[in-house]
């Protein structure tokens, strides 16, 4: 095939969008848009990195911080949420062998997350609304620095994403609980109890011989437990958004509300409690679940210590509700016992739960050696390494002694946040994408394995390298969320910039590979209405 043919119709013309079911289209839409938003996040990241080497004259500080506000939110909601939603809306019915409860609602989730992300991104771009994602009170309502209209549009965008998220949550729980026509009737309540882990006493304390079988498989349980945190987080963010909006609407109508009515420390506790449902909740739970699923699919074997893995997922859910104080260790008014119990000790549990997931996955893989080094396996190992590096980095900073000299430095955002997100989470998501690609595309062939290899190496070296150099800068006192004008930390920022460029190259290699695999026509075809009218996940053989 000529280059032009491949560009238009994909590798060997194998990808036929007309042959896709509505479910395949839904999942692919989420994944493609999620990947594009990842690209936007990486480009924004690189702009910030260049700015940290040498403040760019065309970008003023207001704009710089607006980029810093949009960047993580586009990354987390626009990219990670989209990819996760697409994958799980497909996988839950796939693993449970029944159709998704509502494809229509799934498409609404897709539209709302995409439009919401574009809305808050656009608002930050135009109005430079930039309270950063931690929104410490009363900063989001400080209208001497920000325009209330820009802020209101920003919050509207976040609200749209949250509505899309709630639709996702409903769809997942309904799919787990409902009995489709023609299937044997199941108790929805029992299914949900098993999925979320609230029948745990049953599986631990009963004798082996008397134990009832789990109603849902382990990966579905992981998805359900992560979805509980997704739901709680959506509630917190929506509530917070409404609170800020009240102040904005009042400002737009010329009234200034008393912002001391909201206690800044209480708000900070509230906000971090909610935010940790993402960082220490759904991310860790979804990731562990994806590791388990991939390990089982790659090896074709049962998971090692499956019962303990199930229990650990449940423990992680509870832990995620109780660790928020590790973000408030440098807040002197925060009670000391909360800093020690929630901030240090319960947080240390994450070493256990994530360590278990790490080992269980590795032992399961080992039980089937020799394995072929496929793309999913490669990226899975990368994802495991990412968390192997980032979780201990987090435990170190969640320490009363060390937090005093690490808080708000580049250490936090480098070896911990970016290594967890870029190497741990993103590589796990890529493993799932490479695995699902042939299933979702009815056997389309990857255009180039060489590009996939480059994608892997450039991403892992770039991700770990960037984290390391940011960490070194942090150790030398470089703060996050600020601007240095005299090249104080230039050596580290240039090295981190080179690694960032590698990450960006990795992304473009992947994007090019995807375009050449599906073809431009194929990619457009993903977004047109499905020709097949079926609720089935995959096209049925004639």
């Amino acid at each position: 095939m000529s280059f032009k043919d491949t560009l238009l119709n994909g590798e060997q013309g194998l990808f036929k969008p007309n042959g896709l079911t509505p479910m395949q289209k839904l999942a692919l839409r989420f994944v493609v848009v999620g990947v594009l938003f990842y690209g936007l996040t990486a480009i924004e990241g690189m702009i910030m990195r260049m700015y940290q080497i040498e403040p760019i004259s065309g970008i003023n500080p207001e704009h710089f911080f607006a980029i810093m506000t949009a960047h993580p939110l586009v990354g987390i909601f626009g990219s990670s949420y989209s990819i996760v939603f697409g994958a799980f809306l497909f996988l839950v019915p796939y693993l449970m062998k029944k159709p998704l409860w509502s494809i229509k609602l799934g498409n609404w989730s897709f539209i709302l997350v995409t439009v919401g992300t574009l809305t808050f991104w656009g608002s930050a771009f135009i109005s430079h609304y930039s309270p950063l994602y931690t929104l410490y009170w009363p900063l989001p309502a400080d209208f001497s620095q920000f325009s209330p209209v820009g802020g209101a549009v920003f919050i509207l965008g976040i609200a749209l994403v949250m509505v899309g998220t709630i639709f996702f949550v409903i769809n997942i729980f309904k799919t787990i609980a409902y009995t489709p026509e023609g299937h044997e009737k199941v108790s929805g309540r029992a299914m949900l109890a098993s999925a979320t882990g609230f029948s745990w006493k049953e599986s631990i304390f009963r004798k082996k011989s008397k134990r009832r079988e789990n109603l849902v498989s382990l990966p579905v349980a992981a998805i359900a437990r992560g979805t509980v945190d997704t739901m709680l987080n959506a509630g917190i963010i929506t509530f917070t958004g409404v609170l800020i909006l009240v102040y904005m609407v009042a400002a737009i109508f010329g009234t200034s509300l008393e912002n001391t009515a909201v206690d800044a420390l209480l708000y900070k506790n509230w906000f971090w409690w909610g935010l940790d449902l993402i960082a220490d909740g759904l991310v860790l739970i979804f990731v562990a679940g994806t590791w388990y699923l991939l390990a089982m699919l790659i090896t074709g074997k049962d998971l090692y210590m499956a019962r303990i893995a199930r229990l650990a997922l449940w423990v992680e859910l509870i832990v995620s509700w109780t660790v928020w104080s590790h973000h408030l260790m440098s807040d002197q008014a925060q009670p000391g016992f909360l800093k020690i119990i929630s901030g240090e000790l319960v947080t240390a549990f994450e070493l256990i739960t994530q360590g278990l997931a790490f080992v269980i996955t590795l032992v399961t893989l080992w039980s089937a050696r020799p394995l072929k080094m496929t793309n999913p396996l490669k990226f899975l190992l990368g994802g495991l390494l990412g968390f192997g590096l980032a979780v201990p980095a987090g435990i170190i900073q969640a320490d009363l002694g060390l937090n005093r000299i690490l808080h708000n430095t580049q250490w936090i955002i480098g070896p911990h946040v970016h290594v967890a997100i870029l190497v741990g989470l993103t590589m796990t998501l890529y493993a799932a994408i490479y695995f699902l690609l042939p299933i979702l595309s009815n056997g389309a062939k990857l255009y180039s394995q060489k590009l996939a290899n480059f994608h892997f190496w450039a991403h892992i070296i770039g991700g770990i390298g960037m984290g390391a150099f940011m960490g070194m800068a942090g150790m030398k006192g470089m703060l996050r969320r600020t601007i240095y004008y005299n090249g104080e930390y230039n050596l580290y920022m240039i090295l981190a910039g080179i690694c960032g460029a590698l990450l960006l190259l990795a992304f473009f290699a992947f994007l090019y590979n995807v375009i050449m695999t599906f073809g431009v026509r194929g990619l457009i075809g993903i977004f047109t209405p499905a020709k097949l009218k079926t609720k089935e996940l995959l096209p049925q053989a004639e």
């Binding site: 911080f65 303990i308 256990i352």
Partner: protein, 182 residues
């Protein structure tokens, strides 16, 4: 009290060694899992021992730092310790207001920085000449923000906000305003 540079160096060495080991371990695993060999699983006993090891490791890190990093217990007990000096600082409209143009403390004396915010959430950090951080705390409006510290080295230090408080916040730097005398 040990200087915070020593703690930072110790942490850097420990984490770097750990990072190298885990990277090598994963590389070895990736190689081995794809080559011929015995496919086995580890014994349950070993697995549970690993769980216990993780629990001990997580908790002992905090116990170890609690015993060796002196500012931890001083911070937790600061209500019961009488300081040698209290420096009251207020912050409003992205400006620190110091009691004097230059703050002077003596090496080895216990000093409390009592910082009050009149509007936003800020940070309060003390930095050495080479840019490295001595210590920091958050400055939350409506609450008492008091950092107790004992300087081990004489020298000139800079105060800087360590928390984002909007685009204006990055200019909150007071260079060389704190002197620690022998």
């Amino acid at each position: 009290m040990v200087d915070s540079t020593l703690v930072l160096n110790g942490q850097t060495i420990a984490y770097t060694i750990y990072a190298i080991v885990i990277i090598l371990l994963m590389a070895w695993f990736g190689y081995k899992v794809t080559t011929e060999g015995k496919a086995s699983v580890i014994k349950a006993k070993l697995f549970y021992a690993f769980v216990i090891f993780l629990a001990v490791l997580g908790v002992s890190l905090h116990l170890a730092t609690n015993a060796t990093i002196p500012w931890v217990s001083m911070d937790l007990n600061r209500a019961n310790i009488t300081p040698d000096k209290v420096i009251e600082i207020s912050v409003a409209d992205h400006q620190f207001k110091l009691p004097d143009d230059k703050l002077v403390v003596k090496k080895g004396e216990i000093v409390v920085f009592d910082v009050t915010s009149e509007d936003l959430t800020y940070g309060f950090g003390i930095f050495r000449k080479d840019g490295s951080m001595v210590c920091q705390m958050q400055v939350v409006p409506g609450h008492k923000n008091d950092l107790m510290w004992k300087f081990e080295k004489s020298g000139i230090y800079t105060i800087r906000s360590t928390e984002y408080s909007g685009p204006k916040g990055h200019k909150m730097v007071l260079s060389d305003v704190l002197e620690v005398k022998e």
